[in-house]
């Protein structure tokens, strides 16, 4: 193993790691938004919204994320959607993880005891007030951990956009292999950097989880 080489090239990977972090943050934000809308749709009173949300979830969970990204990036221009690789990556991955987050959020919401909801309605609270005061505060606590699992998967999932040449960690490793012929070292650097990012995000999530649990 060529440690000297690794020490020489790793600074060039840091910029790529920064791109991976940006991709992660943006896709997670987009995913949370899609997840909220999706969960609201899945739990709606209106059959059409329920159907649309269920269709969204089954399409994006039922096809490979890579196909979704290719569809958007390579297929998009055919139907008038012009995106650069980074944009296509963010949108493709964000909407994809949103489908998983939809189910996570929905799961947390429906796990709240029906008796409490009845108690709130009996006091005269409207559906919305009951959701805001009883269901949501408890569901938020319950969803932090499983959303953490989605987020962990998503950070690793950003590697997929190497396939459309976004210069993030995985793509950068491949490019340096082209000039150094040292795949073991290059992938090891990328792996270590992923590990650092994921460990840090995991720490943030368990911190949040602990905070809401204590009160």
């Amino acid at each position: 193993m060529d440690i000297d080489l690794m020490l020489r090239v790793y600074p060039y990977f840091l910029e790529a790691a920064w791109v991976t972090i940006q991709l992660s943050v943006l896709t997670i934000i987009l995913g949370l938004i899609c997840g909220m809308l999706g969960a609201a749709g899945r739990l709606s009173r209106f059959a059409l919204l329920r159907f649309l949300a269920a269709a969204y979830v089954s399409f994006f969970r039922g096809t490979p994320a890579l196909i979704q990204i290719f569809l958007l990036y390579f297929g998009g221009p055919q139907v008038g959607i012009q995106l650069d690789a980074f944009e296509a990556g963010v949108i493709g991955l964000g909407v994809n993880i949103g489908a998983y987050m939809t189910e996570t959020m929905r799961g947390a919401i429906i796990s709240i005891d029906k008796g409490q909801i009845e108690a709130a309605r009996t006091l005269g609270l409207s559906r919305f007030e009951t959701f805001r005061k009883v269901t949501l505060p408890q569901a938020l606590r319950l969803m932090i951990r499983p959303l953490g699992v989605n987020i962990n998967a998503q950070i690793k999932g950003t590697a997929l956009v190497a396939a459309i040449s976004v210069v993030e960690l995985t793509y950068t490793a491949q490019r340096y292999i082209g000039s150094t012929y040292k795949p073991f070292e290059m992938f090891l650097i990328a792996g270590i950097l992923y590990l650092i990012i994921i460990t840090a995000s995991g720490k943030v999530i368990s911190y949040l989880d602990r905070r809401v649990r204590l009160q």
């Binding site: 005891d113 008796g115 409490q116 009845e118 108690a119 709130a120 309605r121 009996t122 006091l123 005269g124 609270l125 409207s126 559906r127 007030e129 005061k133 009883v134 505060p137 408890q138 606590r141």
Partner: protein, 256 residues
């Protein structure tokens, strides 16, 4: 006893789940300040009837009238929601499994609805919580969370929570059946106190002694109908109907 206008009036209440008819044309009235017990075997429709009164389980036929206002009016969705939320503010309900809000302190369990729906705040809300919790003997636990309370304590807080909305009518659905025997009495005492204050109450219960000592009238339900009703002395000592006799015999044998 001859008040011409009943406080609660149930007219031809009918409820089906698919082809299963759970309430079969039940009519009854309750006077202001009256305390009515509903007894009967499991599955006879007691909870369904009680929960129809505040429209938690909507009837498939018939009318519920509280103090001259129909609870289960036919209205467009939005208007109905508004109407029913207003009606429910006047009807307190206590459940077998307490259904306290675990993420809120005892104080906030009691004041959440009045704050939201009656616009009280700060000192006023604190005063309300203190009053209601004193009433049920739970003042010293005001800053606890539900998970830190015993079953009997939880139920007393649940009663305080319902009373904080100043309801005209209180509904109890087996308020003590989930409690350990030694915790039943503390909840019964609170209910007795309410009775002395002339709160109108409809109480579904399996506790015949309690019904006999607190209630003005007892209804015996079986298979979706009110088989027999009358003062506790009559129903428990000298019922007319065979079904009532049989139920009481089995029930009293079972509880000894």
């Amino acid at each position: 006893m001859t008040d011409p206008k009943p406080f609660v009036e149930i007219r031809h209440a009918q409820k089906s789940y698919g082809s299963l008819e759970v309430l079969k044309d039940i009519s009854l009235t309750v006077q202001r300040g009256e305390i009515v017990a509903i007894i009967g075997p499991s599955g006879s429709g007691k909870s369904t009837l009680l929960r129809a009164i505040n429209d938690l389980d909507p009837l498939t036929g018939g009318e519920i009238i509280l103090d001259g206002v129909q609870v289960n009016k036919t209205l467009p969705h939005r208007q109905y929601e508004k109407h029913i939320n207003g009606m429910r503010q006047q009807i307190g309900m206590v459940f077998q499994h307490f259904n306290l809000f675990p993420h809120l302190s005892v104080r906030d369990n009691v004041t959440m609805a009045p704050k939201l729906l009656k616009g009280i705040s700060g000192k006023e809300a604190d005063k309300l919580a203190e009053e209601q919790l004193t009433h049920v003997g739970m003042l010293e636990r005001i800053d606890y969370y539900p998970s830190q309370l015993s079953g009997g304590q939880k139920q007393r807080v649940a009663i305080a929570r319902a009373l904080a909305m100043e309801p005209k009518l209180m509904l109890f659905d087996e308020a003590t059946s989930a409690l350990d025997p030694e915790l039943v009495e503390e909840v019964n005492l609170v209910m007795k106190k309410l009775a002395e204050e002339h709160m109108t109450m409809i109480i579904v219960t399996h506790e015949m002694d309690f019904a006999a000592s607190v209630c003005d009238r007892v209804l015996f339900m079986d298979q979706g109908v009110v088989v027999e009703e009358g003062p506790p002395g009559k129903i428990f000592k000298n019922p007319d109907m065979d079904r009532t006799k049989e139920f009481l015999r089995k029930h009293l044998a079972g509880s000894k």
